[in-house]
């Protein structure tokens, strides 16, 4: 559990880069990353989810049916600065591997931290989508990220 957890609930409007937005209920409660697992998802070139493994389904709190076909920003937490994702997209669109620490929003409003790596999927020389694989981050990296992201909001 993070030092920042209060268990309190707040109503927040999340604005996405594509101009859309949604109202979400945020609960300051961390769900611990499951030991030994990798959380895996894939998207098309536009960031629409095409594949989610069981760990992804379990941690996000959504059903697989709700996830497939949805924009990956469904997991965006309002505590994540936009600049982090701008860096992600700039890196992967340049064909490179990105990694960073991400606070994700669950369907129930709680959150979980991951160490994420995203790579472009190239087939016969063409970009067909992206794969993201997340692993368990250390507490010190989470704390560092919390402090850094707070300054970038």
């Amino acid at each position: 559990m993070s030092d920042q957890d209060t268990g309190e609930t707040r109503e927040v409007t999340i604005n996405y880069y594509d101009g859309t937005s949604r109202a979400a209920e945020i609960v300051d409660r961390e769900v611990p990353y499951p030991d030994g697992k990798l959380i895996v998802s894939r998207t098309d070139p536009n960031g629409i989810i095409t594949h989610a493994n069981q760990a992804f389904v379990d941690m996000s709190g959504y059903t697989r049916e709700e996830l497939i076909g949805t924009n990956h920003y469904i997991l965006r937490h309002p505590d994540m600065p936009a600049v982090a994702f701008a860096g992600l997209w700039e890196t992967i669109e340049a064909g490179k591997k990105w990694h960073g620490y991400v606070k994700n929003l669950r369907k129930d409003g709680a959150y979980y931290w991951v160490k994420a790596t995203v790579i472009p999927n190239i087939r016969n020389g063409k970009l067909v989508g992206y794969t993201s694989v997340r692993r368990k981050p250390s507490r010190s990296k989470i704390k560092e990220s919390e402090e850094l992201y707070a300054t970038l909001m």
Partner: protein
């Protein structure tokens, strides 16, 4: 002309004869000469792969990237229900009960098995451990990894889960598992090189029905496999993409 078959050097020593039986079975099915070459270490095997001395390989998932993307190998089959999972264990009397408690400066006993070592290092990250603040001791087998824990020459050991499970109960009772990976989509794969691709249709037909006759079944069980399963090109590419996210920074 004879083709060359090889096996990822991380196979369990008890199953060496199984690979020879498989090689004999293979030659009968394809009606060509196939020579089985086994290696003690990944390094030498990779060198021979690069000098075009391998036509078919039961490959470690970590090597699949080079074989498929650089050298034009194609996946023909994967073993059913044999994912490569990694176990991190310590001495039963160790003061540490979770990965997060492990301190800097510990010694980790490991093997040259690339996928197990990579996953082991990833599972140490929650403790802020990486190659800069631990000592790794590379040994020849999982039995020797276990010995290093029992003799307290290392505080932590990385095991292939199957290798761990095959240790004797006497040894296992003296260790405790801190974490066991549950990835399920990373596994070994049978790959065929450019020179042998004409055989793929026959090979797949025979491999996928191999468990259905007594002889084939016997060969499979001597390799400790249940059955071969199809693996599509996209499944292979996906596994390689996934491994790419785990290696290098």
């Amino acid at each position: 002309m004879a083709y060359n078959l090889t096996v990822s050097p991380d196979f369990a020593p008890d199953h060496i004869s199984g690979w020879y039986f498989f090689n004999t079975w293979l030659q009968r099915q394809l009606e060509v000469g196939v020579h089985l070459e086994l290696y003690d270490c990944f390094e030498q095997q990779r060198k021979d792969i690069r000098s075009d001395k391998v036509d078919m390989i039961y490959a470690n998932p970590y090597d699949a990237s080079m074989l498929v993307r650089e050298l034009g190998f194609k996946a023909v089959a994967r073993p059913k229900a044999r994912p490569d999972e990694t176990v991190i264990a310590v001495h039963a009397d160790s003061p540490y009960n979770t990965v997060e408690e492990l301190p800097e400066g510990i010694t980790v006993a490991t093997t040259d098995d690339p996928d197990v070592h990579t996953m082991g290092m990833i599972m140490l990250e929650p403790a802020d451990l990486d190659k800069s603040n631990i000592t790794t001791k590379e040994v020849d087998s999982y039995v020797v990894v276990a010995k290093n824990l029992l003799n307290e020459n290392a505080q932590v050991g990385f095991f292939l889960k199957d290798g761990f499970d095959e240790l004797s109960d006497l040894i296992k009772r003296q260790m405790k598992v801190l974490v066991s990976s549950q990835i399920s989509v990373v596994h070994h794969v049978l790959l065929v090189g450019p020179k042998m691709q004409e055989f793929i249709p026959t090979l797949q037909e025979r491999l996928f029905s191999m468990h259905q006759d007594e002889k084939g079944q016997g060969v499979l069980s001597s390799m400790d496999l249940d059955q071969w399963e199809p693996m599509t090109e996209e499944e292979t590419e996906f596994m390689i993409d996934l491994i790419d996210t785990l290696v290098l920074e």
